[in-house]
Symmetry: C2
Subunit: 323 residues, 2 copies
Amino acid sequence: MKRPWAGQVEKPPEELIPRYDPRNPLCPGNTRANGEVNPSYDSTFVFENDFPALQPDAPDPGSDQHPLFQSKAARGVCKVMCFHPWSDVTLPLMKKEEIIKVIDKWAEILEELGATYPWVQIFENKGAMMGCSNPHPHCQVWASSFLPNEPAVSDRCQRAYHQKNGEPLLVQYAKQEAEKKERVVVENSDWLVVVPYWATWPYQTLLLPRRHILRINELTAEERDSLAAIMTQLLTKYDNLFEVSFPYSMGWHGAPTGPHLKEDNSHWQLHAHYYPPLLRSATVKKFMVGYEMLAQEQRDLTPEQVTHFALYSSLLLLCVLQY
Amino acid sequence: MKRPWAGQVEKPPEELIPRYDPRNPLCPGNTRANGEVNPSYDSTFVFENDFPALQPDAPDPGSDQHPLFQSKAARGVCKVMCFHPWSDVTLPLMKKEEIIKVIDKWAEILEELGATYPWVQIFENKGAMMGCSNPHPHCQVWASSFLPNEPAVSDRCQRAYHQKNGEPLLVQYAKQEAEKKERVVVENSDWLVVVPYWATWPYQTLLLPRRHILRINELTAEERDSLAAIMTQLLTKYDNLFEVSFPYSMGWHGAPTGPHLKEDNSHWQLHAHYYPPLLRSATVKKFMVGYEMLAQEQRDLTPEQVTHFALYSSLLLLCVLQY
Ligand SMILES: O=P(O)(O)O[C@H]1O[C@H](CO)[C@@H](O)[C@H](O)[C@H]1O
Ligand SMILES: O=P(O)(O)O[C@H]1O[C@H](CO)[C@@H](O)[C@H](O)[C@H]1O
């Protein structure tokens, strides 16, 4: 962190996003690339991605005989979910009731696509720095015919821990963190947000329920309410940290679905990962490059050092509120 | 690839890098952050990183009793290696004899640090887009007291393949690719560059020797000569692709060192990875974000589609040469 920085400096995000832009394909009433017209939606709005990476009828690529040249079709569907009819809001600026509608829709989509697909990845790329190509508040849902690499590792590790210790890894972890309090960013009666012990991105966080929950559709009405509340708190702290609409990629991980619905998945615990790229300021990010790509991810700050962003940003909030 | 792109656009790299900048700590004769004065070097120049991520005497962090809260000291050294006294050159603009001196120095450093450290990571972050904080042509060498994650996976997979098939994975792979010719970017009698079958970055390449070689210090004088030649060809093709000094992170992987020098490492094959971030043009990169971070890396183009960059750029080169 003491190195002089003469490297790349990011553009601060665009300030003036119009509430409604007639050329934005995500706004209510507008026409999308495939000619479809969006309804004049007033809450969430879900549609099939017009440029999907996964398709239900992807052809089989056909494999070579050789063991090193094996491939398989990756089939699935890609959906886009707008959070709100306005382009100039983000989750932390939305009302609690509006965020609850987003959570309800997440649960609904997981149930719908999870009926057949083994994995349903709900994720949000927020901000141009995280490859987001449209400023309208939205997330994506990609459901696949296979268990992708990251959840496969997560499944393996949670299963091994559960078999050895008789308790789900992340249930035990949340209890320990709630006791230690060294890495807790914010908490309420149902949820806990920590900078995980193994974090690699500087301000990475992990959002965990206290109760053992396999999938997002199992959340009670009270838990959806307290989830909306803690998301607002976390995202406000992020925005306050460098006084910028904080970029990140986030997503939900829960027990696999489709054919896995019938299996024992009690080693799983629902959780969300937040991966924000910023390191020093609104314009200087952490680069996961040479050493990280070729050898191992390395941190510039310990998780305990950055947990204090919770403190600083509460102070900032107070100042803002006094005006 | 057909999606309209309204996302982040990168700044094209700075055009006017002075040959000598009195404030650049990597230039010959200049004073660095720790007060040391660089010699007036006229070839390569190696020094200890003034802001090292790894230190030989890192204190033991002390672990918790709990199995989920275990940590260990990561010890090591970080060196910086300037390729050339001039700031306004890059490897493909250097003379073959100058590049051979870089290769000789890589071999020398691997031997020196590899005498005790189990892993010596030689890597180059090229361009501001890849987190490079200084335009002077240079690479880094981080030696560690442990085998990092990426080489640990590589060791495991190469070992398993060798045990099962009686031939090193990457030796067999190079033979297959040389025969198939579908993904070959450039080759000579000692070396082969392919867009690997499993590539995730659009223009990712893998540089492989044809002969079975465990570590870079085993290269013969002829192999160093032909390596310098093929590096120049590959990097020129990269620069021609979008007519920009091509950003990338690259690095060498070979058999582990230190205590592993005495073991049988015949499953290993020396190779270099090139990970360039660009996707569509000099200013639009591939974002490895939400789905990639949370589920699995996904490509926008097949390796076979992009292999043709070799062709296009040879044409471009011809045009340039005709002027
Ligand atoms: O050491 P540098 O070039 O200053 O820093 C760069 O490379 C390092 C090793 O890949 C990364 O950890 C840094 O994030 C990056 O900015
Ligand atoms: O789908 P989008 O938002 O247009 O695209 C973004 O997210 C995708 C999924 O993480 C990535 O593959 C793309 O590189 C990124 O630009």
